[in-house]
Amino acid sequence: MSPRRPSRYHRKNSRTELYPAKGRDAKMMSQTDGQLHMAVDTGGTFTDVAVRGEDGQMSVWKLPSTPTAPDDAVIAGVEGALERVGRSPGELTRFVHGSTVATNTVITRDGARVGMVTTRGFRDVLAIAHQSRPAIYDQHKRRPEPLIPKEAIVEASQRMDADGAVLVDLDEVSLAETVKPLATLELDVIVVSFLNAYVNPEHEQRAVAVVQDAGVASQVVAATSISAEMREYERSSTAAINAYVSPKITGYIQRLEQGLTAAGMKTSWRMMQSSGGLLSPSDAADHPARTVLSGLAGGVVGAANWSQHLGLQRTVSFDIGGTSTDIALIRDGVPDETLASEIAGLPLKLPAVDVHTIGAGGGSIAWLDPGGGLRVGPHSAGAEPGPISYQRGGKAPTVTDAHVVLGRLGHELLGGEFQLDAAAARNAMVAWGETIGLSAEDTAEGILRVITATMSRGIRKVSVERGIDLRTCDLMAFGGAGPLHAADLAQELGMQSAVIPPRPGIASAVGMLDAPIRHDYATSVEAKTGAALEKLQQIFETMRARAAEQLDDPQAETNYDLLVDARYIGQSYELTVEFDADWERQRAIFEDMHEQNYGFADPDALMEIVVARLVVTQQLEHGALESVASITADVTPSSHRDVYIDGAWRDVPIYDRATFGAKTVIAGPAVIEQFDSTIYLRPDQMAENDTYDFLHIRQATEQE
């Protein structure tokens, strides 16, 4: 998992910039009684702000992030953005926030001092990990160091078997002695993680009390209170991550809460989770590990909502940033989820949108390998020094520079805020091209062809892993650079269409505006026959009761998804499927899913259920989408420029996307510019704008 990608755009100065609601004045009409929604998404380089008024009017912002105190930029974004649309924080009726504090704490190893108590004989569970090495041919690549050092781990005398029966009772007296020396380590948190505690947490809970009484750390947590699922390494790792980020997140949320209150905000607010759902700040402080992969989720949730709105059955969501690209699959408007995600190589057994990240982005550097192949990435110029055309000291040709040399990108970005040095990019491309025997244009076009091949390979891999045929899918491209590559990718992969959402460069913030409130509960079970189903229903009832306590607004319309993790006995992986109180029907549901995912079902094998899951969601009312029905379909190019396409320079029309109305149709080749992104359209393609400002790119022949 990579850190939150820096945006590929860089600004010369730190002034905030308002991009006005399309086709309207920068100032929104004053609405005192309507809805006013806001999302603030913190990224590595920029903090993105989206404000949505009653009719779906959207205003978006980018302001520089403040990594040492990320809440500063959040508060500045809230106050500044609202002031410019003539509103105030007190008027907000919804506020959602995507934070990278937890993510960055793990990546930069800047978290709490954590200790651990384990079952005797198992203190190395975190260090052994999966016993595999991360790279099969690179001996220098190591597994990540555990978040809890060896000296902070002690063993307790206790043991349970796989059924939760006590084999050796917890020796509380000796445990109290054993943990005493940990006092010298000045630990912030101690995690108690025992073998088989997922079946019976009693020893863990008793041990927590003992360690608390010993007073050797400010906080003591049972691992099963964070994740109560089988597999000791994944469970301990999840609890360790949670403990590691906990003090930072708690402090951050407190500061932000104070800042928002001071700014006058009255509405309760929520934070984005890795699962694409929202969590209250207090729940986020209790379960900070649930926010660790939230940076990936905002865009995917948006893409899922938009797919639902557009009636797309299968969508590949494609989010291109500066150093990497995130690929996710959305079926019938629902993103694929996983329980086997990772942060910085450490497993995290909590629900997350299933995102596949590849090391290819706008900043990816082109180089020649010793066999004479032109390679692009995975090294990236990143935010610093960035591409050559950013004039920040970058010397190596990047994907962005190739776009500049070919004329796909103009001489400025972010509505003129940011200048691109085309001459510098071209000079570098000429010089580098000479060394490989190609013209500057063919070198630049080659870089784009190679990055298309690399990205296509990533998408193909995901499609095979998830058992779908790309020819039946649509591509939803966003991130600052997504729309520059969408046309080539959709064509290369033979996809139905490429869809560019209205604000592709700020899709994460826009996307999280309509994320649901979500709570996840999981209980390990052992059900091998229908006889166990009654107990399973009790377990669901218990989880429901917990949910009722936790919901802020239990009266609101609430959706309870009852799910189970099932598998054929002996399989080492599970499938999460819908729960059914009838064993035969439960089995049929499982087999159907197994067939869909893996191409076969096994009627002779026995099925077992190992986890019961409850997903509780409250869908916030979707804000209206901004209509462009009132804008005329006719458009004229704002200018023309030379763009190099398939080996020749062509005079290509440049459009301003803000002028596009419903049913605006553009024939390729064309470049369509907007504040937060640039769209490229191939000569063999058409683009059509719909009523809600989604641009649909298709093969020209299909439309004629």
Binding site: G121, Y137, Q139, M230, G373, E465, I569, S572
Partner: protein, 528 residues
């Protein structure tokens, strides 16, 4: 052959497209296979070939497969005769002497036709749960000839012109303990190849067969250039080193593996002719495994990203003596050649390179894939059970870095089975699973520590088969670093503890158990 000149862009696009297809075939196989061997341990690989069996691109998931896929397909096609192939045929084989590794590795080969001409071949290989023989799992350590290891299948048509040959499949499955799983896995292999065939057809539609041929040749030449450039990074010189495998499967019996290595400019020659004769035990290696070890070592020592196709070995000449431990011939048993011998071949190669390229070579690692099988009848569930796992150990220290602890090294890289899963699914209790501190060799950089797993049978009776190595020899250190501590196998009987040989087999009753401790890695350099 046509002159294969592609510019740097075309070359990279061809590489991505063709590697992407092998990757997709491998992914589809993992996704749709039944057994944990393939799905979790990923003991499988997939490749795209020219019509003559020249490997164009490969996706291997463990290094062991590096040497298998380039040779087996070529030989299988040659022995069957491509003139006998038609569209819709699928060949099946597991013959180690043709270039496979051991009988559980079954290979499915699908010829791809375009405009009625054979233009390419898609193949994949996977380690099956069982192929018959004297022990469940077909990995007996005590076999003395290949007939005891299971069913051997020469290249035969599993599908003829699109029709499944049911009778042939019935013969195969009748000789196998896990008929249903094996059938499922073989069909997953066939289906994965079919995906590859479809992708190749899409590519041929787009490129035409001429560009396909040119691209294939160019990619092989490209890989050869990459290997040559990698070999050039090594200093010229020659070295000979002998290392010993301590056990032949039936008894302690030091077996000498001798590698002579010479680097001259951009060429590498490796000679194993001095290696001892093959033995009547399951530790013999097919020469394809040996070649895979050479390919692995060159990637390890120079450039880990060298592409895996026919070009990889072009600048490398490997000589083996037929009938030796590292080039076994009929009827030598070979099932554990992968587990034990391949790791010692790597050690012998590293020792030889070390003599003239010391700054590139790490100290010896734990030296075995360390396999444990515990099988028996569980009267509570009324089912046979079979626990199989391989264990990591200490990694040898590098000239610039400590070795990692409790990690799979060299020719394998599979994940462990969680203790909680072991206890839930088998009548076994994990008494301890830990890193054994201070077992790595010392030095300026220390070797990684070994791993210990202690298991107790909780009910009934079972048979234990364990195979590790470096119990009577030590993983050597380099440049003044000390050797890693040896491994250990202990039987915990109701009559007391007993130290066993590195490859061992015994029965256990409820309450009895076994400890296996793997060796630490060697250290590097004088301790400061």
């Amino acid at each position: 052959m046509r002159d294969a000149t592609l510019n740097p862009v075309e070359l990279e696009i061809a590489r991505n497209r063709l590697e992407s297809i092998s990757e997709e075939v491998g992914t589809a196989l993992i996704q749709t296979s039944y057994s944990p061997n393939i799905k979790d341990r990923r003991d499988c690989s997939a490749g795209i070939y020219g019509p003559d069996g020249m490997l164009i691109s490969q996706a291997e998931h463990i290094p062991l497969h590096l040497g298998l896929m380039p040779t087996l397909i070529k030989n299988a096609l040659a022995s069957y005769g491509t003139e006998h192939l038609v569209d819709g045929d699928v060949l099946l084989t597991n013959n180690p002497y043709l270039g496979g590794s051991h009988l559980p590795d079954m290979c499915v080969i699908t010829p791809v036709f375009w405009q009625e001409t054979l233009v390419a071949v898609v193949a994949n290989m996977a380690h099956h749960v069982d192929v018959g023989g004297i022990t469940p799992g077909s990995m007996a350590t005590h076999a003395t000839e290949i007939f005891q290891e299971g069913l051997r299948i020469p290249p035969v048509k599993l599908f003829a012109a699109g029709e499944l040959r049911d009778e042939l499949l019935a013969v195969v499955l009748t000789n196998i303990r896990t008929q249903d799983k094996t059938r499922g896995d073989i069909m997953a292999q066939v289906a994965a190849n079919r995906l590859g065939e479809r992708r190749l057809h899409e590519l041929l539609e787009e490129w035409g067969s001429q560009r396909f041929d040119v691209s294939a040749t160019a990619l092989v030449e490209y890989a050869a250039r990459r290997t040559r450039s990698a070999i050039e990074q090594l200093p010229d010189g020659t070295g000979t080193f002998t290392d010993y495998l301590e056990h032949d499967g039936n008894q302690e019996n030091p077996l000498a593996i001798t590698a002579t290595v010479e680097v001259a400019g951009d060429r590498l020659t490796v000679d194993f002719s001095e290696t001892t004769d093959q033995v009547a035990g399951a530790v013999n290696c097919s020469w394809a495994v040996t070649e895979g070890c050479v390919a692995y070592v060159i990637k390890l020592l120079t450039d880990s990203s060298l592409p895996s196709n026919a070009g990889l070995m072009q600048p490398i000449e490997v000589t083996t003596r037929e009938g030796s431990l590292v080039a076994a011939t009929f009827p030598a048993p070979v099932s554990n050649g992968n587990i034990q011998t391949s790791q010692r071949i790597v050690d012998a190669l590293l020792g030889a390179f070390q003599q003239f390229a010391p700054e590139h070579v790490p100290a010896a690692s734990s030296g075995s894939m360390s396999i444990m099988t515990i099988g028996g009848f569980d009267h509570v569930t009324g089912q046979y059970f079979s626990y199989v796992e391989t264990y990591g150990g200490g990694q040898g220290a590098m000239p610039d870095q400590d070795g990692a602890s409790a990690v799979h090294t060299h020719m394998t890289n599979t994940r462990n089975t969680p203790c909680e899963v072991i206890e839930r699914e088998y009548p076994l209790r994990v008494e301890a699973y830990r890193i054994v501190e201070q077992t790595g060799g010392t030095g300026e950089y220390s070797g990684g520590d070994g791993l210990l797993r202690r298991l107790t049978l909780t009910r009934g009776t079972a048979q234990v088969v364990a195979g590790t190595s470096r119990v009577t020899t030590l993983p050597w250190g380099l440049a003044g670093g000390s050797a890693g501590q040896p491994g250990e196998v202990i039987r915990h009987g109701n009559d007391g503890d007993e130290t066993r040989e590195s490859m061992t087999r015994f029965d256990v009753r409820s309450g009895e158990g076994i400890t296996i401790q793997t060796a630490g890695g060697g250290g590097y350099g004088q301790q400061q």
